[in-house]
Structures are given as structure tokens and as C-alpha cells.
């Protein structure tokens, strides 16, 4: 039984008041309480960005790594102990800029991890530069003449690269986000949740009102097992046309399942022991 107190650290978040990270923080903790995620069965990895500070505010085993490199660390953890629920907290810059290569390969391999992609369409921590998801023509400190580049459609990229679970939720829909995180963790495979969030300080366009006005829930009739409609739907992003919900979910072998040597139990359940390599040495004669 996990309580809010179990998950509390001595530190109150230093995010700006109104930051979407508060919603993500609340949703994740609620999901942990509902699911019983604790220090015997869970670990998370954070990158560098405002999201990265999560390690200081949730008392679960965690690793704050390098900018862009949370996903490989998480992959290594999961391969070594696949009993753990493994989460990645990453941002639009962390995941799609610095960490782009790792993102697409993790999707390709279908590592059984859950990626919480904090997408505030800007670089927050470094004070306001354009990010890989900032809209074209946006004026920021780094693109004062207007962003010359088209943004990524993160979920479209994830699905095309091979992810088997792709969803989008708004950060302040705490209940909905909690539910999605639980669903994503239950899914066996690479789960990507793009979490749209406001950045009160640096992104004056993507406000809470912007998200509540322009997002709409995918209808109950939407079939998330169809990759073609998922790819189409994840290209949709405009005025009154930002779908939220579960876009794609299919079952495929995970990266971890390709290693028969860890079928029976997690790798680290057996402590390292000195191996008999006589056969290997014999081949050298």
C-alpha cells in the first residue's frame, strides 16, 4: 500500500507556479498509489530539462541522467531487471533534439518502457529557445525572425519508428493522465505518452486555455489497432484539431523478449559468478 506520504521527498517542486509539470507530477503519483509502484518494483529515469527535476520530488528509485540520454539508461535498466516497471521522464528537447536517435531506435526495438514526453513546445530550462516541436514561424530567443523549421509530430515519428503504444494527454487532465500512465505501463512494449503542457514562463501561446480550446478526445469508435489511421491521426495538429487519447496500441515482441537467457528470470536475479571458459580457451589451440 503506497500513500502520498511514501512518495514525498523533503523538497517542494521548484517549477514555476502553473507549470504543467505539477499536473504530470500529481498524475504519476496517483498512478503509483493506485498501482502499488514502490521501491521494490519500480524505477524511473529522467533527462535534463524542467522535467528532469522529477527525481527530487518523487521518492521512487530514480536516475537523473544526461540531456537526451534517459532512454538508453532506461533500456539498460529494463534489460537487466525486467521485473521493474521502468518509466522515462523526458522533454521535447531532451527526447526529440539531443536524444532523437535513441528515441527512434528504442521505438524500433520496442523496449518495454513507458516514456512520458513532457511537450511544452519550447526549451524551458534554458530559458526559451525553439524546440523540435515548436511551430513554424514562432518567434523565440533563438528564432527571433521566426522558426524556419517544421516541427516534429512526435507520436507519428514514434509509430513510424516502431513504438507499439502511442497516446496524447493534456498535463492538467490529471485523472486522464493517471489512467493513461497506468495503461501504458501495463502495455508490453514501447509506450509513448506525449503530454501537452503549458510553460507559463516561456511559451505564451500554448497556455492552458489554448489546450482546453483546441484539444478534442478521440471518439469511442476510433480503432487504435490500425496503424494507417494512427499515422494519419497523429499528423493532425492545428486549431481545434489536436486529438487526445490513445492513438495506437498493438502487441509485438518486446526487445527484452528476444533474449532467451532472461526468459526464466531477470538478469540480475542471478549474482555474477566466475564462469568456466575452458571450452572457449580450447578453441584457441
Amino acid at each position: 500500500m503506497i500513500t502520498q506520504a511514501d512518495l514525498s521527498t523533503p523538497y517542494f517542486p521548484n517549477w514555476c507556479p502553473g507549470c504543467g509539470n505539477f499536473g504530470i507530477w500529481a498524475a504519476f503519483k496517483n498512478a503509483a498509489i493506485a498501482s502499488g509502484w514502490d521501491n521494490t518494483n519500480t524505477a524511473f529515469v529522467a533527462g535534463i530539462g524542467c522535467h528532469g527535476h522529477m527525481v527530487n520530488f518523487v521518492k521512487l528509485t530514480s536516475f537523473e541522467g544526461l540531456h537526451g540520454r534517459a532512454i538508453p539508461v532506461a533500456s539498460g535498466i529494463k534489460l537487466s531487471n525486467h521485473r521493474l516497471n521502468v518509466f522515462v521522464f523526458t522533454g521535447d528537447g531532451d527526447c526529440l533534439g539531443e536524444g532523437g536517435n535513441h528515441f527512434i531506435h528504442a521505438c524500433r526495438r520496442n523496449h518495454n518502457i513507458t516514456v512520458l514526453l513532457h511537450n511544452n513546445n519550447i526549451y524551458g530550462l534554458t530559458t526559451g529557445q525553439t524546440s523540435p516541436t515548436t511551430r513554424k514561424d514562432y518567434k523565440s530567443k533563438s528564432t527571433p525572425d521566426g522558426n524556419p523549421d517544421e516541427p516534429f509530430k512526435a507520436l507519428n515519428l514514434a509509430i513510424a519508428a516502431g513504438a507499439t503504444f502511442a497516446a496524447r494527454v493534456y498535463s492538467n487532465d490529471i485523472a486522464g493522465l493517471s489512467e493513461m500512465i497506468i495503461k501504458a505501463n501495463k502495455h508490453n512494449g514501447m509506450s509513448v505518452i506525449e503530454i501537452l503542457q503549458p510553460c507559463i514562463t516561456w511559451n505564451k501561446e500554448c497556455t492552458p486555455a489554448f489546450f482546453t480550446d483546441n484539444t478534442y478526445k478521440l471518439p469511442d469508435t476510433y480503432d487504435p489497432s490500425n496503424i494507417v489511421s494512427a499515422l494519419e491521426k497523429t499528423l493532425e495538429f492545428g486549431e481545434k484539431k489536436i486529438p487526445v487519447g490513445l492513438f495506437y496500441k498493438v502487441e509485438k515482441p518486446t526487445a527484452e523478449s528476444e533474449f532467451p537467457q532472461i526468459d526464466e528470470k531477470p538478469l540480475v536475479d542471478t549474482p555474477p559468478n566466475k564462469k568456466d571458459i575452458q571450452n572457449l580457451l580450447q578453441n584457441l589451440y
Binding site: E64, R69, P72, V73, S80, K274, K275
Partner: protein, 521 residues
């Protein structure tokens, strides 16, 4: 490709050639200056190769290699075995032994292939026996008994050493000259129960390996200099988060893409200094396959004990050169995981400040709240920027090196007499060439350094202070080892034999240098 064999130990490649097998003209042109007086040359007879420039000093064995290959029923590639048979005859060897080796080596390809190659070998053998019996030199006469030795290179040694040491996880991106380590590890993972993952790039490789180690697995990655450049951020991450990691770096010619398939000893400075800021790094260097095997196993224990990255440096020659050694002995090796927490604690302190700098390590999943933080942190692991936490954690981490210097660092090895006219100082694969050269100079000694960090400054200072004459040998352009020695001991080795053309330093070159010093005196 060169093979050096002898009845006495052979330590390195040599420059001179006593027998040349030329399958193309380029071989003759490239190596004719290296041929010794009376050297033998087997070469394609029918039109292609002109070895006439060598006819005065050498015994020529023109053999219709391709014709005999095709007459044996094989493709052109079978000329290899025709040439082997021919060479064997010229050196007075026993054909039976070659035929047995062909069976051993090629039986996996089927009986027909074995037969074709044996026929080809015999054809070459018979041809030379019939036509050139006056030119034989019987140096390959069989022995009554021989010691059975392994023929092993550095990549075998590293891979098998890692497996023996209880390797559990490796993530590697291929790069010459270390790719063969990857191949070995990939092929044996199911049998030995560890996980090998080919990563998408070197940055992923090191970060995956760190994640695995955080989870409690004995973990390693391998690369060459250029790949290590990409790993520098991860290198410091392991140091800052205090996560054990073994990194094997196989040096090749740099900078940039450099000389991918040639050697250099150019990365010592990079491994000593790369990454921003300061963190404890343990650095070892192997001089041959046996050292590679032993140091690999040792590296895992050091990494676990000190919870920090351990780099094992090897130059391409160590990795690729096949050398005979008695079977590697690892009976006395014991796995040491260092300070491991086995109980849950109400408030586990991951980065507890201790006298030796090493904090007790708990694995995820046990029940403790375990943190790894690349930010500067307090002893629990939460991010911190306070003066107190910064000073405490920084000095705790660096203290580990002092502990290592006291408890585990090894002294350099002296080969040769205690008193010598010249003391050669060097590292890496130069060891073999130096030992080969010293066969002619029993009054000289060789000081072989394999611990780079922490550095055995006291031992080096004492040895170098009492030496009559110092000679530094390195395969780089700026004498990196000599620089480190000066920095750590104050002793500047002025006479430096530096070679950086990608080739190994040959015993002949060392002997010439030694003679020039001795003749000067």
C-alpha cells in the same frame, strides 16, 4: 600478414623476412627490402609476378599456384593452400601435419572442400619437392614433444576474460580494432547467460551499460578512440553517479578517422583528462594478450569496488596480434562486488560520506530508495548546490583514488637485471618488441608501466632516479607517457624513440637505437 615462429619464445613481430609468399606483385615490391640474405620466396609462376629483382640474394620458388589450384578441383582461393604446401616443402616440413590442420580447420565446410584443399596443398608440396630440392632449408622439422599453447589475440583475451569475470551486460557499437570483442560476446551470450546488445551509437552503448550497472549488473562497453570521444559525457556520468563500468578502449591511428586498421598509442591523455570537471578514473594498459585477460578480470573487480569507471587501454597490436601463451589461468580469480547493501533501510543514504570514499551500494528493486544523480547532490542523492554538499561529495569521490593507490594499485614490472646500462621505459605492445630486442642486450632492463591512474609515482621515481640512462619508447608523436612521468615524478626522460606511422615499433629499430646510444658512450 606476418608469422614469426621459433623454438624460443617470440615476443613480437620483426621487420626482416626470411620467407615470403607473394600472391601479387605488390607483395614483392613492398617487402623486398626486408628480405634477409638467402630468404625464400614462393610466388605465382605463370606470368604474373616478377621477382627477378630478388634473385641474387634469395631462393626463388616460382610455382604455378592457380593452375595447381584449379587442377585440384578448387577455385582460385585454394591457391592459398598450394602456396602453403609449397612453403612447407621448402622449409622441410611434414605434409601430414598440414593435411591434418586442413581437416581441423575446414571440416565445417564439408568433406569435399577438405579434400580439394588437401589435394591443393599436396600439389604445391610435391611441385616444390620435385623441382627445387636443392634450395631447401629444413627449419620446420617436427619435434618429438611440444608444449600445447594457445594462439590468442587481445580481443579473445578481453572477451573471454570478461565472461570468466562474470560479465552480465555489454552494450557495444562496432569499431575497429575492437569489433571482434563484440563478435565474441554476441556469439556466447546465450551459453553464458549474459545480455549483449548492439547499440545504435556509442553514446547509447555507454548509457545503456551504465543503466544496466545501476540495476546491479556487471557491465562493460568497448570502443576505439573515436567512439570514446562520443562516450566522454557518459564517462563522467559514471564517475559522478558512482556507477561501476568497465570500458575497453582499443587505440588506433588518429586523429579523426585516422588509420582505422593501424596502431597508435595516442589516447593516454584523452582517457586521463576527458570530460568536464574532475572525477576519479582508474586507467590500466595491457601490453599483450595475457595482460589483457588478467587486467580485464581485474577491471570488473576494481569498477565494483570503487564504483567508478575503469578504462582498459590497449593498442591495436595487442588486440590483433596472435601470440602463443600457455593456457590462461583464472583459478585464483574471485569476484569482488565491493560494498553491497542487502537489507532495506528506513533512510538509505546512497552517497554516504565515508573515510575511503566508497559508499554502500543498494540495487534497485530491493526496497530502498536508490538515487543516481548527474547533478551535484547531497548524500541522499537529491540535487544540491550548497557549498557543504559540493565540497563533501567532490572530495569523497576523489578520495577513492587515494584508497585505490593504497589498496590496489600495482607497481610497474622490471624485466632484466636490477643494474643496467640503459633502462627502457614504455607501455602497451612495445613490451614485446622491447623484450625481443633485449635478447641481444642482457645488460639492459625494461620498466613496463601498466597502471596509468592512479599512477605509481613513487615506484617510478625510485626506479628512474637510480637508472644510469633512460630511454622512452612510445608509438605516438608527443611522448604522452613521458609527459605523465614528468608531471608525476619531476623526471624528464630526454631520449625518446617515437614512432607514429601506424606500424609497430620493431625490435630492429630498438636495437639500432640502443646501439647508437652505446656507441656514443
Amino acid at each position: 600478414m606476418q608469422t614469426v615462429f621459433s623454438e624460443s619464445p617470440v615476443y613480437s613481430a620483426i621487420k626482416s623476412v626470411d620467407f615470403l609468399v607473394a600472391l601479387n606483385q605488390e607483395t614483392v615490391d613492398l617487402h623486398k627490402e626486408e628480405l634477409t640474405q638467402g630468404a625464400g620466396i614462393v610466388f605465382e609462376d605463370e606470368g604474373k609476378i616478377d621477382a627477378s629483382s630478388c634473385k641474387d640474394n634469395c631462393r626463388l620458388f616460382p610455382v604455378p599456384l592457380k593452375r595447381l589450384a584449379s587442377e585440384s578441383g578448387g577455385q582460385e582461393i585454394v591457391s592459398n593452400n598450394v602456396a602453403l604446401g609449397a612453403s612447407l616443402a621448402a622449409m622441410g616440413g611434414d605434409l601430414e601435419l598440414l593435411l591434418n590442420l586442413i581437416t581441423e580447420d575446414l571440416s565445417s565446410k564439408g568433406e569435399e572442400i577438405v579434400k580439394i584443399n588437401q589435394t591443393a596443398a599436396k600439389a604445391g608440396y610435391d611441385y616444390v619437392k620435385e623441382n627445387f630440392s636443392d634450395k631447401f632449408e629444413p627449419i620446420l622439422a617436427p619435434h618429438e614433444t611440444i608444449d600445447k599453447n594457445m594462439v590468442v589475440n587481445g580481443t579473445d583475451a578481453v572477451a573471454f576474460g570478461a565472461i570468466a569475470a562474470g560479465l552480465q551486460f555489454a552494450a557495444i557499437y562496432p569499431m575497429s580494432p575492437t569489433s571482434n570483442i563484440l563478435h565474441h560476446l554476441a556469439a556466447n551470450q546465450r551459453k553464458y547467460g549474459y545480455v549483449f546488445k548492439q547499440a545504435e551509437d556509442e553514446i547509447s552503448a555507454i548509457n545503456m551499460s551504465i543503466g544496466a550497472s545501476f540495476a546491479g549488473a556487471r557491465s562493460m562497453t568497448t570502443t576505439s578512440g573515436g567512439g570514446f570521444c562520443l562516450m566522454t559525457e557518459g564517462y563522467g556520468l559514471a564517475g559522478q553517479t558512482e556507477i561501476p563500468l568497465v570500458i575497453v578502449e582499443g587505440m588506433r591511428g588518429g586523429p579523426g578517422t585516422g588509420l582505422p586498421t593501424w596502431s597508435e598509442q595516442g589516447d593516454m591523455r584523452m582517457i586521463l583528462h576527458s570530460h568536464q570537471g574532475e572525477f576519479p578514473r582508474i586507467i590500466l594498459a595491457a601490453g599483450d594478450s595475457k595482460e589483457a585477460f588478467e587486467l580485464t578480470m581485474k577491471a570488473f573487480n576494481l569498477a565494483d569496488k570503487y564504483q567508478t569507471p575503469v578504462v582498459l587501454l590497449m593498442d591495436k597490436n595487442v588486440l590483433d596480434d596472435e601470440q602463443t601463451f600457455p593456457k590462461f589461468d583464472y583459478e585464483n580469480y574471485q569476484i569482488n562486488r565491493g560494498k553491497i547493501v542487502t537489507k532495506t533501510e528506513s533512510q538509505y543514504i546512497r552517497y554516504e560520506v565515508t573515510d575511503d570514499g566508497i559508499s554502500p551500494r543498494s540495487f534497485p528493486g530491493l526496497g530502498n530508495h536508490v538515487m543516481a544523480n548527474s547533478d551535484e547532490h547531497n548524500s541522499y542523492g537529491f540535487s544540491s548546490e550548497t557549498i557543504e554538499d559540493r565540497n563533501e561529495q567532490m572530495s569523497k569521490r576523489l578520495r577513492k583514488l587515494d584508497t585505490c593507490a593504497k589498496e590496489d594499485m600495482e607497481q610497474p614490472v622490471l624485466y632484466g637485471p636490477e643494474d643496467a646500462d640503459i633502462t627502457i621505459v614504455s607501455w602497451g605492445s612495445n613490451k614485446g618488441s622491447i623484450l625481443e630486442a633485449l635478447k641481444d642486450f642482457p645488460n639492459l632492463n625494461y620498466f613496463h608501466i601498466s597502471w596509468i591512474n592512479p599512477f605509481p609515482a613513487q615506484a617510478v621515481f625510485e626506479r628512474l632516479s637510480k637508472s644510469k640512462y633512460l630511454l622512452n619508447i612510445e608509438c605516438n608523436s608527443t611522448a604522452q607517457m613521458a609527459g605523465i612521468i614528468r608531471e608525476k615524478t619531476g623526471i624528464d626522460i630526454l631520449d625518446r624513440l617515437l614512432k607514429n606511422d601506424g606500424r609497430p615499433i620493431f625490435p630492429e629499430e630498438i636495437k639500432a637505437k640502443i646501439n647508437s646510444i652505446l656507441n656514443r658512450k
